[in-house]
Symmetry: C2
Subunit: 397 residues, 2 copies
């Protein structure tokens, strides 16, 4: 591992793809302001804005650091002191900006106002669904990056028998897992696109504590260590004979994979074992049936049907009113990418998409149990990239 730049050919392809869309949409260009998308299209994550015209070379307008941006991107870099100067700087390049796409899903209102005042008269429209859909299709370079993160979460799971001890507090267990993945290149937290959505590593919790519902848009819960971080690992001591949820992501070079495995010190009861078997059956069924052209929603419906057939509908993806409405989500530079395997989303899967599929069951009096794998959608089906053994990690009492 090392400080690894995005290959030039990769950046060119990404920009080319976006430029085709810009042309189709009859825009003059796209103005990127979000760090994740600036990184995706430029290879650099400096404090900057990026203008990608319908045709011709993109320009990265950089506040700080200009030197670093120049080392990291192949595109033109130009210093920018204030967004007020931006229209003139674009003008100087011979580029136009009457109709411009911009990421209105994440751009704060005041910042957009500042941009609109600077670009007096420009017609801005939301481009975020276009860039998000484009980013949902991963290149071979990106899939290799995802495999690096998958290897890190695999190694973390193999380490669990050495780390996990009865009587540990959940956050102590999580701190050891975090150190382990940080030493292997994890960036330190998991980027999300959603407003107010935050994740450090994942959801690590044990027994009924894991079933405590949270604000997070995911099936696993957790009390958390403070009302200021009310999710995931908390003060609960890990006990015997309860399901220990190890739902962790890692982001090496920015690329996130998401994986859940279960552990127990001692034994689980029949109901929990049945639920775990059901989660395996669900994930195997989706593994078999998912391929390009199948819809995002049909896999959610399959999962829901199998959960119902197993008598577990009430527990599926959260308990009763705290259910989430999906069984899988795209991952990449962000945790909450497209596609979303959810009811009513009838778009097709496409080759190159990367999905975390996570059938889980919540029992308020027992905990959360289930599995999660990250897969690449290939021309013929799903390829598993989270390679950790899928058996429950069973430790002696």
């Amino acid at each position: 591992m090392s400080y690894q730049l995005t290959p030039i050919e990769e950046l060119k392809k990404r920009v080319d793809n976006l430029q085709k869309k810009i042309t189709e949409l009859e825009l003059d260009g796209v103005l990127l302001t979000n760090n994740v998308e600036i990184f995706y299209y430029s290879g650099s994550m400096q404090n900057s804005m990026m203008y990608i015209p319908a045709a011709g070379e993109p320009v990265l307008f950089v506040k700080k650091s200009v030197e670093r941006a120049m080392k990291e991107t192949l595109f033109s870099v130009e210093p920018m002191l204030s967004v007020k100067d931006l229209p003139q700087l674009i003008d100087n390049r011979g580029l136009t900006y009457r109709k411009v796409g911009i990421e209105l899903d994440v751009l704060p209102y005041n910042q957009f106002q500042r941009i609109q005042r600077a670009f007096n008269g420009t017609d801005f429209s939301d481009i975020s669904q276009v860039t998000r859909l484009q980013r949902s299709i991963k290149s071979n370079f990106e899939i290799e990056a995802l495999r690096q993160s998958a290897e890190v979460v695999n190694e973390a799971i193999l380490e669990v028998p050495k780390i996990l001890k009865k009587g540990m507090k959940e956050f102590e267990f999580q701190a050891e897992l975090e150190r382990f993945v940080r030493l292997r290149g994890h960036l330190g937290y998991i980027r999300t696109r959603g407003y107010n959505m935050e994740l450090v590593l994942g959801m690590v919790a044990s027994g009924i504590s894991a079933a405590v519902p949270t604000s997070f848009d995911g099936p696993a819960g957790g009390q958390g260590i403070s009302p200021a971080m009310p999710q995931g690992a908390g003060w609960n001591e890990i006990k015997e004979n309860e399901p220990i949820l190890i739902d962790i992501a890692a982001a090496v070079n920015g690329y996130i994979v998401d994986q859940t495995r279960m552990a127990v010190i001692g034994d689980l009861d029949q109901e929990l074992e049945h639920a775990y078997q059901t989660s395996l059956e669900i994930i195997k069924e989706i593994e078999t049936s998912a391929k390009p052209g199948t819809t995002w929603s049909e896999h959610f419906e399959t999962a829901k049907r199998l959960a119902k057939e197993a008598g577990l509908e009430e527990h599926f993806m959260g308990y009763k009113q705290n259910k989430v409405k999906f069984v899988g989500h795209g991952v990449g530079l962000e945790l909450d990418e497209l596609p979303i395997l959810a009811k009513g989303l009838d778009r097709p899967l496409e080759a190159g998409m990367v999905i975390a599929i996570e059938p889980k069951f919540t029992f308020p009096n027992k905990g959360v149990i289930g599995i999660e794998n990250t897969y690449v959608v290939t021309e013929t089906g799903l390829e598993l990239i989270t390679i950790a053994p899928q058996e429950i990690i069973r430790l002696p009492k």
Copy 2:
């Protein structure tokens, strides 16, 4: 330590203070959407929106989890399925919403559009400077919470001689520090208000790597481990006779303190020793002169003047074009709170403000050196809360 709720009296006082402002501004109420401010005023950080009317009881409208919100706040909690329902739900409470304040500094444009469509005809205005100014004055409860975080970063510094080894990579050193503070209640990352601004723990870097400029709005730099995290600790191996920057924050129960200490394995040269002495002189001078009624800017000017007198102006707060324009910043639930000790900001310091002051010097061929402490502004001056010893940690070769 434990899962610690905000006291009821504290929440009442915060809401009372905001209601006075709402009345002064002739608004009907404030609609909070941001997790940090919802937590500040309600005591709960669930997926919700909070309506604080000019008079009467605030209501927390909760998507997920309703049960947890009810346990964490003393105010009314009401389930909300969609923001579309919100005006009706507010109506049902007998509250009005013709003129409403909202946090337009952080609210994404699309989300604000959705709210505007739901509240057909409401006149929204930006309330963020009001809430940020209010949050800049900390209560005794908050100052005690900050002392807990200060104790954690103090203990981390005392641990450095045990952790730090020649030949360690910067990110390996940081991973051990992270584990240490996580085991003592740090939430896992440092919240910021700025768009695209991210921080896991702080800036931990050694020698010339620490002087590599970054996108981050701070004086310390760092190569980072990836262009997808281009700041702070990177792959550089920590060597003898170079300044090791340990700029770390911790957030216990959400409250952030920021502290910088220096270490060296061996010795530093005269120029670096001189710069460190100058950073101590600057911070002592501000400690002596800052009190309620002095302006934010005058402390920046003092720092700059002393840096110049010491012949170090070029190196002060970043090198040449990569300088930042402040010497201190408020801390609390966010790292980038008010006040900002910066040129041109002529507001007065007030008792109860909490400031991280960080005079630092950047030498592109040597590294970054300086100090940072967090202080409470009291009626008579500054009270130091980051109590770690201020001497450079000197380890034998």
